[in-house]
């Protein structure tokens, strides 16, 4: 499975990860090699086998819908790059 530079751009956008033009060919080549390597899984007959998402095949534990956490906004915002009045500041979103 060989990745084109357009595919790198598409995947990079999905991951919100900028890939510089000079780095793109090397990434494309390395990722293509890795994908070719993992393609060998297609040789196995996995029909009738269900996916194993959790090693012990356990599903999500539930708890009562009661408030147990305290609000620690100030503590958690003390390490933010930019906050005001309890809000996180980012560059303008709406043009």
């Amino acid at each position: 499975m060989s990745l084109s530079e357009e595919e790198i751009d598409r995947v990079g956008w999905l991951a919100r990860l900028q890939i510089d033009a000079e780095a793109k060919p090397q990434f494309a080549q390395q990722l293509s090699r890795i994908l070719e390597f993992v393609d060998q899984l297609n040789k196995l007959d996995t029909s009738g086998v269900s996916p194993l998402a959790h090693p012990l095949d356990i599903s999500e534990r539930l708890r009562p819908d009661e408030v147990t956490e305290t609000n620690q906004r100030d503590l958690f915002q003390s390490i933010a790059p930019s906050v005001r009045d309890g809000l996180y500041l980012v560059p303008r979103v709406i043009e």
Partner: protein, 485 residues
């Protein structure tokens, strides 16, 4: 004093032959002196440790101390430590001061252990050599031109050189066991769900487990006992009582059945490593165990399955690093798109980016079924191989790594070559089984590790086998000459 195990140090502290403050000073001095040669630590917290030592000494004097009270420990820089920088060896978290303690950190602190420092590692735990760290590579104490293994290479190097008497690590594809093997120490990855992942920076949520990295199995039993147990804050934590691992150490091995997978002894294994593994197995036979060949037919498919599943899960877990709420933010972002794309491009190293991209691809529309779901099917087949094996044997044994420590920069230009060295460790993560590595000899100066794998929640069996072996051998007591004074 710095060569003593946790078990020995505990006795000395309780008999008041040494104080916690004196002991801590010894390790602080060693860590400061030797760290420039090994780069094992990202952060040293000597002052903090001495403050805690004062409290520990009071507890020891008044008889309110437990077995681990007053002993320093190093935590892999993937565990959140409140008020102390927690970087995950990444530029993305270079300025991140953790607002809370990981459960593992909290539990070991409650047991009275003191934080000596945060150890270096592969960035975001992605790697097998501890070379991808933003803070520079870690060196193997046995040969500083070589890697200590990864991703818990800093913890392994710190214990191997006795800069700390023990450390914590995490293991997603072998990151406790492989560096333990390459550095000649003991490392254990518990059953998935045995140790809480709360406050442990996530890489691949269905594979990650934290565990002890120690001088010996007896110490690993002490640490695991304190670290393990149900935690309601971790949704994957298992509600099952913790065994008394220390009590299980001395069990009689006669009648225990060990399986040797033929797939683990094939062409890829270095013959000098194989010879040492076979010597160790002969030693087990003298202790009364019965060995037989078994087969784990889907072993070769474990690496490709892992390199779909782990990157997929990592792409999801690392989506939180967006420059908005914490961590690295690029300068003068033009707009929101630029904020995300450039913060992440500048904050993450190359290997992390590769895995995010592979993972994103494998989960994207049109590929999810063919890649991610299919890899999870292969995962069930690998798990089923082990379940069949454990019908016939109690423990599975083999080499931890196909070779000894390789040279720095030897494998960095070819990511795939690096991935292939995880062939023996990855299967236990995919299946969620407990596994450990113990030192069984050296090829020249370079340590070799034997891996033991047991069935779910049978860590006690692993520790028992390892402890009995360590009672009749002394590989685990040896340290490189350079660090012996």
């Amino acid at each position: 004093m710095f060569r003593k195990t946790l078990f020995e140090l505990s006795a000395l502290l309780h008999r008041r032959e040494i104080s916690s403050a004196e002991l801590t000073r010894i390790f602080i001095e060693r860590a400061e002196r030797f760290n420039p040669y090994l780069n094992a630590f990202i952060t040293l917290s000597g002052e903090h440790a001495l403050d805690m030592a004062t409290i520990a000494d009071r507890r020891l004097a008044s008889g309110q101390a437990g077995p681990l009270t007053g002993i320093p420990i190093a935590h892999k820089d993937i565990f959140l430590t409140r008020g102390i920088k927690t970087s995950c060896a990444s530029r993305m978290l270079d300025d991140f001061i953790a607002p809370y303690d990981a459960t593992v950190v909290e539990r070991l602190a409650s047991a009275g252990m003191l934080l000596l420092g945060k150890t270096n590692m592969d960035e975001f735990a992605m790697g097998s050599s501890s070379e991808t760290s933003f803070f520079g590579p870690v060196k193997n104490p046995w040969d500083r031109q070589r890697v200590p293994g990864g991703s818990s290479g800093g913890s392994a190097a710190a214990v191997a050189a006795r800069l700390a008497p023990a450390a914590t690590g995490t293991d997603t594809g072998g990151s406790i066991r492989q560096p333990a093997a390459l550095c000649g120490i003991t490392g254990l990855k518990p059953t998935y769900g045995r140790v809480s992942r709360w406050g442990m920076i996530a890489y691949a949520s269905s594979l990650d487990q934290g565990g002890p990295m120690t001088q010996c199995a007896q110490d690993a039993a002490m640490l695991l006992g304190a670290m393990a147990g149900f935690d309601p804050r971790d949704a994957t934590s298992v509600e099952r009582p913790v065994d008394d691992y220390s009590e299980q150490l001395e069990g009689d091995l006669r009648g225990l059945k060990i399986g040797l997978p033929k797939e683990y002894f094939g062409d890829g294994l270095d013959h000098q490593v194989a010879a040492l593994i076979n010597s160790a197995i002969a030693e087990f036979k003298r202790l009364g165990v019965k060995c037989r060949e078994i087969t784990l037919p889907h072993t070769e498919h474990s690496i490709p399955a892992y390199y779909v599943i782990a990157p997929a899960e990592c792409s999801s877990n690392l989506a939180r690093y967006d420059g908005v709420r914490f961590g690295y933010r690029c300068k003068d972002p033009r707009d929101l798109r630029d904020l995300y794309c450039r913060s992440r491009a500048e904050g993450f190293g190359a290997e992390v980016k590769r895995r995010i991209l592979i993972g994103t691809y494998a989960l994207s529309a049109g590929y999810y079924d063919a890649y991610y779901l299919n890899a999870q099917r292969v995962r069930r087949m690998i798990r089923d191989d082990f379940q069949s094996a454990f019908q016939q044997v109690d423990v599975i044994a083999g080499p931890t790594s196909p070779g000894v420590a390789f040279r720095l920069a030897e494998k960095t230009s070819d990511p795939l070559a690096m991935y292939l060295s995880d062939v023996y460790t990855i299967p236990a993560n995919l299946a969620g089984l407990p596994a450990m590595s113990i030192p069984v000899g050296r090829v020249g100066a370079l340590p070799v590790g034997l891996q033991l794998i047991a069935d779910y929640f049978h860590e006690g069996r692993l520790l028992n086998l390892a402890h009995r072996y360590q009672q009749v051998t002394d590989w685990h007591r040896q340290i490189p000459a350079e660090f012996a004074s």
